[in-house]
Symmetry: C2
Subunit: 184 residues, 2 copies
DNA sequence: CATGTGAGTGACTATACACTCACCATCTGT
DNA sequence: ACAGATGGTGAGTGTATAGTCACTCACATG
């Protein structure tokens, strides 16, 4: 039961998380109703509460899934780097991240999670994801601390650019902060 | 009437905005009820709706006020810089910003605004504030575009650090991204 | 005194939402 | 054939919340 085959309930749970990524990314933690997620997943709202004990835990699970995907993308990027130098590794990881967040959902989810971080469980999940991301960037790239810090900072800048819509039809002044940033 | 004296309604409006900064910063746009803001300001909820036509516009007004304070702080920092070189100017402005957001309210308000940016009016206010901040940093420092971009990116990193609570009793790994960052 | 005006409120409405519960349906092992 | 586990739902409940409205009170002015 714990080896290869998932029960249908676990399959459902994954489908609900997939819907939750989309819906939470669109409207945030408080702005998204469980009913909307259930409808998107094609099941009743009551069944969502059978699969997850609370909206809060559904959000946390969704956020953890988001970070799993981010970590996998960084890993992929690192593996595909043409060159083992720290700068090249970080550049490759950045490119893989930019590609991953192409549909904005995973990015928006992180933005909304930051806004909901005062909910203890959500804040803890955010810290855990940031920790894993940072440490992976450090260990795979072998870059100095300053370069890793820069990597994270420019990731946040990328979030800001997308949130403000500066990547779509950017005004003239926007090139000041969007120049060189790889965004979707 | 338009010169020096404010009517009591305008005074009230300012008091409500001050309360709104605190309350919205604490619980976000959707997480804060107008009743809570009214109570904090010591007036009835009905009167808040006489002073502001909607919760949305109250939030936008509050956010604009936040950016006014940010711009004033940057201006102050620039004016106090011991040295006119671009690097020194940006450093001084960064220090003034770090000091301004010492109580976290103005920082958290920006984070929550990013999460609520899909509301058109809020997104527009955010873009406007970012534009003004970026252009001010550029024009006062005379720094190159890359340095201004870096200035904004590290500002966002600062937000992330505060949101995740990494500035209070930081775990060991946190120094990777908090090193050198001036936060409250 | 009469009258008008701006400040301020209590009580209400309509709705939306997280969460619950009693219940049905379908499969599975014996 | 049947007992029980597992998948799934319709119909609620209680509460919170944005926004409204009819109203009161203080005060200024003619």
């Amino acid at each position: 039961m714990n080896t290869t085959k998932l029960s249908t309930a676990d399959v459902r749970r994954e489908a609900v998380v997939a819907s939750a990524v989309t819906m939470f990314a669109g409207s945030g933690y408080l702005g998204t109703s469980v009913a909307a997620i259930a409808e998107h997943a094609g099941i009743s709202q009551a069944y969502v509460f059978k699969l997850f004990p609370s909206k809060e835990l559904l959000f946390v699970t969704t956020l953890e899934h988001c970070f799993d995907l981010v970590l996998a993308a960084l890993e992929r990027g690192a593996a595909a780097s043409p060159d083992q130098s720290p700068d090249a590794m970080l550049y490759a990881m950045g490119g893989a991240y930019a590609e991953l967040i192409g549909d904005r959902s995973l990015l928006m989810l992180q933005v909304h999670a930051q806004s909901a971080a005062s909910v203890p469980e959500i804040g803890a999940a955010l810290r855990k994801g940031l920790r894993a991301t940072t440490l992976l960037a450090k260990s795979r790239s072998n870059a100095c601390d300053e370069a890793v810090q820069r990597f994270i900072a420019y990731g946040q800048l990328c979030h800001l650019i997308v949130v403000t819509g500066l990547d779509h039809n950017p005004p003239d002044w926007a090139s000041l902060i969007t120049a060189g940033i790889r965004h979707p």
